[in-house]
């Protein structure tokens, strides 16, 4: 049994947020991979762009950041230069600036540092699951998937527990800015340009900025100078320091990206367990599975559906010419279902190895900073969940986020029996 089968007719408008309401329109991406792997894609909200849908092409292009630049925006939407400057994070920069900023925070998110959080994560998972599983029917996105990344981010950034729900709400408003369930300022339906200089073009960006400034002032007053946020305020090797605007945008990035991506990986994994009952059996009986299970769940989820680059020179590919200044979109969601890269891509195979999925933007310098944390959180959550579950099944239809950018199940009603 497959976990979920795409229902689009193979000719969906892949730029439209509404095309993702039933999940990623994978029949359309399968057709593009087969027939038109470098597809000139019309876009009603702005300039048309090239869609790259094959796994091998995404990897090859992502490894050439000098030709396919991040420094003119990384989303489908067009930005003026002024908007770009005001809203950019180090995600939207190229070498050498990119690495200079990234190095300031990379250590705090590196494998060995994150490994030190294992016990803290396990304890949080136990708390969250013991509460969630005290009833037999619940929304697993809300009571499990949403909880862990939020509380863990709070620990890492040293934020007070009582602030966390507010922060997550604002993070959702930023990144799920095309879903009316998460924001009153739906991006493609907005009639005002008032927030165009704010992170993610959202008023939540302004509120988070004020929060970040207050937080740092409080920490400074209390003499607290450790943690990730202080680390990025330190001068770099060349003596340069981060500007207020960069700090604001980085904080928003952490709150937004640090929350919903891992949340939707967990949700997709739980949804898979509802439809492939053998997954729970494997998790319960085969300890070797944990070496590979987390990455397979993250491949299956692909929370970041795409990222965009901009060509800096003309490039010939598949008999076509990408012109300098053309937008190019790497569809990670498509690459992760590419039959040429994965056997049975529409099946969750917890022992899949090798698993060269693209969920973290692998193959380029912008590979996810939080990937070690995400992998560890996903692995431990499912280890602890499997320990406690006798069975799990869907208790109703699940609902996807309205977004061409964030792939996620926002409502996931499940029915469980404890073991």
């Amino acid at each position: 049994m497959t976990v979920w089968a795409p229902t689009d007719n193979g000719h969906a408008d892949i730029t439209s947020h509404d095309s993702y309401l039933e999940g990623v329109p994978h029949n359309t991406f399968a057709r593009l991979r087969r027939d038109d792997p470098l597809h000139w894609t019309e876009y009603s909200q702005g300039k048309a762009f090239w869609s790259v849908t094959r796994h091998a092409d995404i990897l090859a292009m992502n490894a050439k950041p000098a030709i396919f630049s991040s420094a003119q925006g990384i989303r489908m939407e067009d930005q003026t230069y002024e908007e770009y400057l005001a809203r950019r994070t180090f995600q939207e920069t190229d070498a050498p600036e990119h690495m200079m900023t990234r190095m300031k925070v990379a250590k705090a998110f590196s494998g060995p540092v994150i490994a030190g959080f294992e016990e803290a994560i396990r304890q949080l998972c136990a708390e969250i699951l013991d509460e969630a599983l005290s009833v037999s029917e619940f929304d697993a996105t809300k009571t499990i998937a949403r909880q862990l990344p939020m509380r863990m981010l709070g620990r890492i950034l040293g934020l007070p527990d009582e602030d966390l729900p507010w922060l997550v709400e604002k993070g959702d408003a930023l990144i799920a800015n095309t879903d009316p369930d998460f924001t009153t300022h739906v991006l493609d339906k907005m009639t005002t340009h008032e927030f165009r200089m704010m992170p993610f073009n959202s008023p939540a960006g302004a509120e988070l900025y004020v929060y970040a400034k207050d937080l740092m002032a409080r920490k400074a007053a209390a003499g607290e100078n450790d943690g990730v946020l202080n680390m990025i305020l330190q001068p770099g090797k060349d003596g340069s320091t981060i500007t207020d605007e960069e700090f604001r945008n980085f904080f928003c990035l952490l709150v937004a990206a640090g929350n919903d991506t891992t949340r939707y990986s967990i949700a997709a994994g739980i949804q898979a367990m509802c439809h492939q009952p053998e997954l729970l059996d494997q998790m319960r009986s085969d300890t070797a599975i944990w070496e590979t299970a987390g990455d397979e769940i993250i491949r299956w989820a692909t929370p970041a559906i795409y990222f965009r680059r901009t060509a800096t020179e003309d490039v010939e590919m598949h008999g076509k010419t990408i012109r300098a200044r053309d937008k190019v979109i790497y569809w990670f969601a498509s690459g992760n279902r590419d039959e040429a890269a994965f056997e049975t891509p529409f099946k969750v195979d917890l022992s899949r190895k090798p698993n060269r999925h693209l969920s973290f933007g692998q193959g380029g310098p912008h590979v996810c900073l939080g990937m070690w944390l995400a992998r560890l959180e996903v692995k431990i959550l499912f280890q602890e969940l499997a320990k406690r579950l006798g069975s799990i099944e869907a208790a109703g239809p699940h609902k996807f986020l309205r977004s061409n950018f964030v792939g996620g199940i926002k409502e996931l009603p499940v029915r469980i029996k404890r073991c």
Binding site: N62, P65, A95, S110, G111, P112, G363, V367
Partner: protein, 103 residues
């Protein structure tokens, strides 16, 4: 050139690698375990970490500044002969090279 990756379980993988190819790319092409090269050789991830065999350290040479910084972020921690294999490029000088893959 010929390269051999020695793996912690006592096995090894040997392959011919064309001049100019990085040893991270070669490791992936030959399914060497634990080397994933997540950033595509852009010095952003430290997932192609290897220990150069002591006999080859002089020929391979030391890491440069940026690589040196990234070596502090490897999963198993750095050791005396740590290098990121995306920064070691195959050449005839290195024919016979032996690399040890971290556990």
């Amino acid at each position: 050139m010929k390269v051999t990756w020695k793996i912690a379980d006592g096995t090894s993988i040997s392959a011919e690698v064309a001049t100019g190819v990085s040893l991270m790319e070669a490791a992936i092409a030959n399914n060497v375990p634990r080397i994933t090269g997540d950033c595509g050789g852009n010095l952003a991830c430290a997932t192609c970490h290897v220990f150069v065999d002591p006999d080859w350290v002089d020929k391979v040479g030391p890491p440069d500044g940026m690589e040196d910084g990234m070596l502090d972020m490897t999963e198993v921690g750095r050791a005396q002969h740590s290098r990121l294999s995306c920064q070691i490029i195959a050449s005839e000088d290195l024919d016979g090279l032996v690399l040890h893959v971290p556990v």
